[in-house]
């Protein structure tokens, strides 16, 4: 009964999304202001319906209703409760439902937050969001219904994919999607501004907090995914340039450009058409990511069941949404004229470089991701591009970007002279260079050029980011959340650069075959293999090795890498054992049974790897802090006053 209720709720949500799109877009266009009153109730109703549908599916999982095909395929009676709930987004149908639910959460938040904006404008924003939601609901109901029944019901479920049975991965999709889908808000604001022909800088200011929030979520989501890949896949890498990873990374790069470009449009009224384009692009890349992951056009280690009919549907949807918004852009953007100018060396010029370099970086990732498809379309032999392409090419725009950052954040608007800041910036650079030389030659004593560059850039960015907050604090000026947020996010960038440089340059790795009692050494640590034992978990069994780790004969403890075999699907997963010691990550992964009590073991000593994820969290924290700045709320209030004031003036005149 409940699954049917869920399906019915989804159908109602589809109808409400249609109403929301129609009244929200047609109402302002035809100047029927009474239609606008229907938009917010449609948003609220749609939220309730989607929440009901999610509730029904969760109930089916919790109560082991194996007559629902999706539950039978992704759950099992031995699966613990936590994973029965997160199994909701363990495969295609449920992920889509989650996507829609998060979109309806964002839409509800916008309906509440944008209530202060001019009525026609906010109706248009909600209308565009309704259109996006309509497309996804139609897709779900037409091709990927999570509520289809299985008759007769399965006696037991096929179990959740074992590699998804992990706490980090359980919470990774909702956070990642919150970021992905959040760019829909910036997209909707841009489309609303273009529909309205209201292309002043107001829309940029209204969009900023939403975009920054979405960006922060996406940052955390990507970091969690990378952290999961690091310890669960057991290969000891944290980024594989896999199509699915790239699908989330491209919107992030363009989103980062958008955050900076919105600031320029907001403050100086520049880059208006460019900002519109970035807002369209960021969301288009989110949609494209969904297409690539869901349609099966790209084969990936993460990809869920592929289905060409789904691909055709998403492609049609892409044409409507992206094609439509780009056509709107081609029509409206020529109306824009930037009046203000700026000198080379002014803050605007640095933000322009930031945008260009980030978009180039996104284009590089895009090119690599799409290369197999393009080769296929041109009839060339099957081509696949990996780390050897991505790593060096990606550095080309990113290194100049990082080098310009510590200077650009101190540049003045409009004027090209750095004036008195110049000495401080040079001083921070000098300190950073000394630090870099000291670390590379002093601690690791391995002269590597990229390590020197990275370890100079990272500290330079951090020190330079701190100049402004310290200066303000000393002069007892108020530290607004936006100034502090920007500094924190940039410190995060610096820490990230340090982390990734050290890991990439100074990781040591060793594959060995060990029998009980054997010992091996790596990176100043000794590892003694103490044999394996059998283990059994709630829905798996496996083996666990004990490896005693010591440093200079001082024991640090025992590590237990595991190999698990999940009963239902028969899948074997590697659970590596990780231990932090003096900032280094010791990672042990158990390989194969080589017979005669010997096992292959992979040992890695990765210095500062945790800093990579920590830095991403710090960036997101900075973004979150900047997004809550009071002036955005003031800006929204002023907008209402302005609009009502203008209306009152009109009435008085008429």
């Amino acid at each position: 009964m409940l699954p049917e209720l869920g399906q019915f709720a989804l159908i109602l949500a589809l109808l409400l999304a249609g109403l929301q799109a129609f009244f929200g877009i047609a109402g302002p266009h035809l100047r029927r202001d009474r239609w606008l009153d229907a938009v917010v109730p449609a948003v609220a109703g749609q939220f309730v319906m989607v929440a009901t549908a999610i509730g029904c599916l969760v109930t089916a999982f919790v109560t082991h209703d194996f007559s629902v095909r999706y539950v039978a395929e992704n759950s099992n009676s031995a699966l613990p409760l936590f994973y029965r709930i997160t199994a909701l987004w363990g495969a295609h149908e449920g992920s889509l439902l989650l996507w829609i639910f998060i979109l309806s959460c964002w839409t509800l938040a916008v309906a509440i937050g944008a209530a202060r904006l001019p009525a026609r404008f906010s109706a248009r924003v909600l209308g565009v969001l309704g259109l996006v939601s309509f497309g996804f609901l139609l897709f779900t109901l037409a091709t990927s219904n999570p509520f289809s029944r299985l008759i007769p019901a399965a006696p037991d479920g096929h179990d959740l994919n074992p590699i998804l049975q992990d706490p980090a991965l359980a919470i990774h999709p909702p956070i990642l999607y919150t970021g992905y889908v959040g760019f829909a808000v910036a997209f909707a604001f841009a489309c609303a501004a273009m529909l309205e022909g209201r292309l002043d800088q107001a829309w940029a200011r209204w969009t900023r907090p939403w975009t920054t929030a979405a960006w922060s979520f996406l940052t955390v989501g990507i970091a969690l995914g990378s952290w999961w890949a690091y310890y669960e896949l057991g290969w000891g890498g944290f980024w594989f340039w896999d199509p699915v990873e790239n699908a989330s990374f491209m919107p992030w790069l363009v989103g980062t450009a958008l955050v900076h470009s919105l600031a320029t449009t907001d403050k100086r009224g520049l880059f208006k058409s460019w900002t519109l384009l970035l807002a369209i692009l960021a969301f288009s890349l989110s949609l494209l990511g969904t297409f690539l992951v869901r349609s099966g056009v790209l084969v990936s280690v993460h990809s869920f069941a592929a289905d060409p009919t789904r691909g055709i549907f998403i492609l049609a949807f892409l044409i409507v949404m992206i094609g439509g918004s780009l056509a709107l852009y081609a029509w409206r953007a020529p109306l824009l004229r930037s009046t203000a100018g700026f000198e080379l060396g002014a803050r605007e010029s640095f933000l322009l470089f930031n945008n260009i370099l980030l978009v180039i970086a996104a284009a590089i990732v895009f090119g690599g991701t799409m290369a197999p498809l393009i080769a296929d379309a041109l009839g060339l032999p099957t081509l696949s591009v990996g780390t050897p392409y991505f790593n060096p090419t990606f550095l080309m725009p990113i290194l100049p970007l990082l080098a310009l950052l510590p200077i650009g954040m101190h540049a003045n608007w409009k004027k090209g002279r750095l004036a008195e800041k110049r000495r401080k910036i040079l001083a921070t650079l000098a300190v950073a260079l000394v630090l870099s030389l000291a670390v590379v030659f002093g601690i690791f004593s391995q002269p590597k050029l990229l390590a020197l560059v990275g370890l100079a850039l990272g500290p330079w960015i951090i020190l330079s980011s701190l100049l402004d907050p310290i200066d303000r604090w000393r002069r007892r000026l108020t530290l607004t959340p936006s100034v502090l947020g920007m500094a924190i996010a940039h410190v995060g960038v610096g820490l990230f650069v340090i982390g990734i440089t050290v890991v990439q340059s100074f990781t040591q790795e060793h594959d060995v075959a060990l029998a009980r009692g054997d010992q091996t050494a790596l990176g100043g640590y000794e590892f003694r293999f103490d044999g394996v034992e059998n283990i059994e978990g709630p829905n798996y069994d496996g083996v666990r090795a004990s490896i005693i780790v010591s440093r200079k004969a001082v024991p640090l403890g025992t590590l237990y890498p595991e190999k698990r075999r999940y009963w239902v699907q028969g899948t074997v997963t590697t659970e590596s054992a990780i231990r932090m010691n003096r900032g280094s990550n010791l990672l042990l992964a158990l390989g194969d049974d080589l017979g005669a009590g010997r096992w292959s073991v992979r040992i890695q000593v990765r210095p500062l790897v945790n800093l990579v994820w920590l830095a991403a969290l710090i960036m997101a924290l900075g973004g979150g802090l900047a997004g809550i700045d009071r002036r955005y709320r003031l800006a929204a209030r002023n907008a209402t006053e302005l609009a009502t004031g203008a209306a009152a003036a009109k009435e008085a005149a008429g």
Binding site: A72, A154, D156, H158, S273, L277, I280, L281, S284, F291, S295, G296, V297, L298, V299, A306, P308, G311, I312, L315, L318, I319, I322, G323, L326, A327, Y329, A330, A333, P334, M370, L373, I374, D376, A377, T382, R565, W567, V568, Q569, G570, T571, V572, D592, D593
Partner: protein
């Protein structure tokens, strides 16, 4: 020429590439496996039905055969079993089973109940052979030619459609000669 049309034009180009990508994607499953076009990994494993004998890849050389990975714990294997039995009866090509990480008595019960489509069944208790064959999850079905090269790999249950569309057309005219 309006330069603001450039993004739209680039997008149109992308749509063409994606559309071609979708049209080709049904064959993706066959290209995806690095093993297709390579020699089938060798094995010598105990037979499920005849404890005295080994099932060896050596003995299969010179014959086309279908290699089906299954287990009684696998729900989808039950779904495909009827199709396997039918294909086995048709006798176009011998079917070799790999009973993957299973209990022997469960497997024997299953065959007694549902029928035995296999010419021979190799028992892979520790899953090593399945790993050699790049098996991700049961069921998976391979088609191996007389030279011992994997020519096709199917992930997921065998259906009538995949059997008639993918397996039968790949077989030589008279592959049916038993072994």
């Amino acid at each position: 020429m309006n330069r603001f049309l450039v993004p739209l034009a680039l997008f149109a180009l992308l749509v063409v590439v994606l559309a071609i990508g979708i049209r080709h994607s049904p064959d993706k499953g066959t290209i995806a496996s690095p093993l297709v076009g390579r020699a089938a990994p060798g094995f010598a494993l105990p037979s499920l039905t005849d404890a005295q004998h080994l099932v060896r890849s050596e003995d299969l050389k010179g014959h086309w055969y279908v290699f089906n990975v299954w287990g009684t714990w696998c729900v989808e294997c039950r779904a495909e079993h009827a199709m396997l039995v039918e294909a086995g009866h048709a006798g176009l090509v011998p079917i070799i089973g790999l009973d993957w990480k299973d209990e022997d008595d469960h497997a024997l019960d299953w065959l007694a109940q549902l029928g035995n489509p296999y010419q021979a069944i190799a028992v892979d208790h520790d899953g090593r052979t399945a790993v050699d064959w790049g098996v991700y999850g049961a069921p998976e079905t391979f088609l191996v030619n007389a030279q011992g090269v994997i020519v096709y790999k199917l992930v997921g249950p065998l259906t009538r459609e995949s059997w008639t569309r993918e397996f039968v057309p790949r077989l030589p005219r008279r592959a049916a000669a038993g072994f």
